[in-house]
């Protein structure tokens, strides 16, 4: 009983953090779904959704209801247990990284010593979900998408991690809160511009967004790994994708854009979240912007770009950082 009472605050904290995480995941999906369609519309000189509610703001709610009401079609020759499992694997792990993200000084689930490692570890599970989904669909297009996705994500995790390691060497900690706090005079984007660029590119590839959306390249692979998915199982993949976007953008904000730092407001230890979210959604806007602007790269070019440019450059950057840290 003593142990229970001593753990109770932690348990309550976990429950609250999980609820907040769910709110963030679903709220983010609603905002992003609407923003993506609206922005895509305006980029294309058309208004986007306009019918449901003023400027179509209820469109996503209606879409969610529609997707929930739809039949889950399972192909005849699909591997049914894996087929059903894949969307859950894609969706479930996105809650965990949210626990360690420091939205502001006081708004954070846990300040873990290994926060970054936790995020990277759970972000990699997404690849497994795509592979399982593509494999179990028993469809050649899905399989293509899955194979491309694995090759792409495994390759792009390396420059992503190495570019972040440069920051780790400078701050001597994996704790996201301390990294964010370490940028009080200058943001690391100024000190480490190359690492920032590499991270941004790897981030786009890691979330399978255009111009690196090869796993779901619809003009080549119809819809890639989720060709056979319908209804809610499809929307779980989409929710997972938006949540992953949120996570990678949050990491970029923490590592390069100073976390919650900005013009101080009253109660800044809480209101810093405004600056944090502003930076995150600016990055998300950037993701949407390039998605609707650029054509898709080819698979070999994508891999060449990673292995021939991003990884060597990030290694050089790391080396320089290490030397500089040692000297100064």
């Amino acid at each position: 009983m003593e142990i229970f009472y001593s753990l109770l605050p932690e348990l309550i904290r976990i429950v609250i953090a999980a609820i907040c995480g769910a709110v963030i995941v679903f709220g983010n999906a609603l905002v992003m779904g609407y923003a993506e369609r609206k922005l895509a519309g305006h980029i294309m000189f058309r208004p986007g959704p306009m019918e449901v509610g003023p400027h179509g703001i209820y469109q996503l709610v209606i879409d969610g209801l529609k997707l929930m009401g739809k039949q889950l079609v399972i192909p005849k020759n699909a591997d049914t247990p894996l087929f059903m499992l894949a969307p859950l694997i894609a969706f479930a792990p996105v809650f965990v990284p949210l626990l360690v993200i420091p939205f502001s000084d006081k708004i954070q689930g846990f300040d873990l010593d290994v926060g970054l490692l936790l995020i990277l570890a759970f972000a990699s599970i997404n690849v497994l979900a795509i592979l399982i989904g593509g494999w179990s669909s028993n469809n050649k297009y899905s399989l293509f998408g899955a194979i491309r996705s694995v090759a792409q994500n495994v390759a792009y995790e390396i420059p992503m991690l190495i570019s972040l390691l440069a920051i780790i060497f400078m701050t001597n900690t994996f704790s996201l809160k301390e990294i964010a706090a370490a940028q009080s005079p200058v943001w690391f984007v100024v000190i480490q511009p190359l690492a920032f660029l590499i991270y941004i590119v790897a981030m786009v590839a890691e979330t399978n967004r255009a111009p690196f959306d090869l796993p779901e390249a619809e003009s080549e692979l119809t819809a890639g790994f989720h060709t056979e998915y319908s209804g809610m199982s499809f929307s779980l993949f989409v929710l997972g994708e938006y949540a992953n976007m949120f996570i990678v953008c949050s990491v970029a904000t923490v590592f390069f854009l100073g976390g919650d730092s900005g013009i101080p407001l009253p109660y800044f230890e809480y209101t810093g979240i405004i600056w944090f979210l502003l930076k995150v959604y600016l990055l998300m806007f950037f993701l949407i912007w390039i998605r609707w602007t650029y054509p898709r790269t080819r698979f070999d070019q994508l891999m060449n770009f990673c292995w021939k440019y991003l990884i060597p450059f990030s290694l050089v950057n790391l080396l320089i950082t290490v030397v500089m840290v040692k000297l100064l």
Binding site: A40, I43, M44, F45, R46, K140, Y141, F144, A210, P211, D213, A217, E218, S219, E220, L221, T222, R291, W292, T293, Y294, P295, R296, T297, R298, F299, D300, Q301
Partner: protein, 375 residues
């Protein structure tokens, strides 16, 4: 078509068959391509046609020559007026009918508008194949103006039946002239935007350069014409090579490429937009007054016995009508040589050993319109 698969499937080589189409986002219609893949490389390709076969040549043998005109528009729904043009010219040539000058000008203006419309649709759809979503909306924005202009004068938006033997069905008015001039000005002003947004993009360059290379000799062997041929450096355009209508009076260039790859044909098509605008401007400047129909065309048009050919430059290449007549008003045999048919037939050779993504970009560069292949 189980037999096709059996032919391609070869368990020894760990190859497998990917069925692309007839419902696939980048085959642009009911085209089916069987790809024998090794990894992601296409080692063999087998296009399967005929899903949209509507027996146009058989229909032609069963009705008076003049009433086949609407069918021509249904073959290539994007170049309908040019198909009208070729057919009207065929009958005029065969029956020895002179066409008033104003009619020729109207035909040239509307045909060139139609060509621009077709190229704009290709521009958007091709970039959609390459994964760029936005340009198609910009291209459709421009294309909509042409459809509105042509709707006013022809009455339809896509499958026009505007030309008649010896004339056109309706005269153009001042509104047509002013709105066409406005459109020419507008599209010119949009070219820099297209160049900035799309043509200079490094991803696009990497996707298209050195992909699907053709040589003039390959083109001769397969009968490839149109922008693909001009991309290889051969300035062969029916408007110049066998000047029909009044094209010989206009000053325009034939854009050519050098390498014959997808980028070359891409740029050729893009520059053809500008050349079509030039032709339209000159034709509008020189538009004469006069009748829009030859008075002496008989109701029952009898074609003297013999064979007749009429070739025009469709948006995708050379379109030929070949008519064999036995002296009656019904064709004995009408054969339509459609450019996409010959252009597509190069795919098994051109795409051999390509990545799947390159197959999509190479086939997109052919600018396929499947109904004109199946006829």
């Amino acid at each position: 078509m189980a037999m096709d698969v059996e032919i391609l499937e070869d368990p020894k080589h760990h190859r497998y068959v990917l069925n692309m189409g007839p419902q696939h986002p980048s085959t642009h219609g009911v085209l089916r391509v069987l790809l024998e893949l090794e990894g992601e490389y296409a080692m063999e390709l087998l296009p399967v046609l005929g899903y949209g076969h509507r027996c146009h040549e058989k229909i032609a043998e069963h009705k008076p020559v003049k009433s086949f005109m609407p069918n021509t528009a249904r073959m290539d729904y994007l170049g309908a007026l040019i198909y009208n043009h070729g057919y009207a010219q065929l009958l005029e040539r065969a029956a020895g009918i002179e066409v008033p000058e104003r009619v020729e000008y109207i035909r040239v203006i509307t045909s060139e508008l139609n060509r621009i419309q077709s190229h704009l649709l290709w521009y958007g759809a091709y970039l959609l194949d390459l994964g760029a979503f936005t340009p198609i909306m910009y291209a459709f924005d421009d294309r909509e103006h042409i459809l509105d202009i042509l709707e006013d004068v022809t009455g339809s938006r896509l499958t026009y039946c505007y030309f008649r033997v010896g004339g056109v069905s309706k005269d153009i008015d001042d509104k047509f002239v002013t709105s066409t001039r406005a459109f020419v000005k507008r599209l010119r002003s949009r070219f820099p935007m297209y160049e900035d947004l799309v043509n200079g993009n490094v991803i696009l360059q990497n996707r298209l350069n050195d992909v699907g290379e053709l040589t003039p000799h390959t083109c001769a062997r397969y009968g490839i014409t149109g922008p693909l041929l001009r991309g290889t450096g051969v300035a062969y355009d029916m408007r110049r090579a066998e000047p029909y209508s009044i094209y010989s009076q206009f000053d325009f260039e034939i854009p050519t490429g050098t390498k014959g790859d997808c980028m070359a044909s891409f740029m050729v098509r893009f520059h053809e937009l500008e050349q079509s605008l030039r032709i339209i401007e000159q034709a509008l400047d020189g538009l004469p007054e006069g009748p829009i129909m030859t008075p002496k065309v008989p109701k029952k048009l009898k074609i003297p016995a013999g064979d007749y050919n009429s070739s025009v430059e469709a948006p995708r290449g050379e379109l030929s009508y070949y008519l064999v007549s036995d002296g009656s008003d019904v064709p004995y045999r009408l054969k339509v040589r459609t450019p996409s048919y010959s252009n597509l037939s190069v795919v098994p050779e051109m795409c051999q050993g390509m990545l799947l993504s390159d197959v999509v970009s190479a086939m997109g560069a052919l600018d396929l319109v499947i109904p004109e292949i199946d006829r």
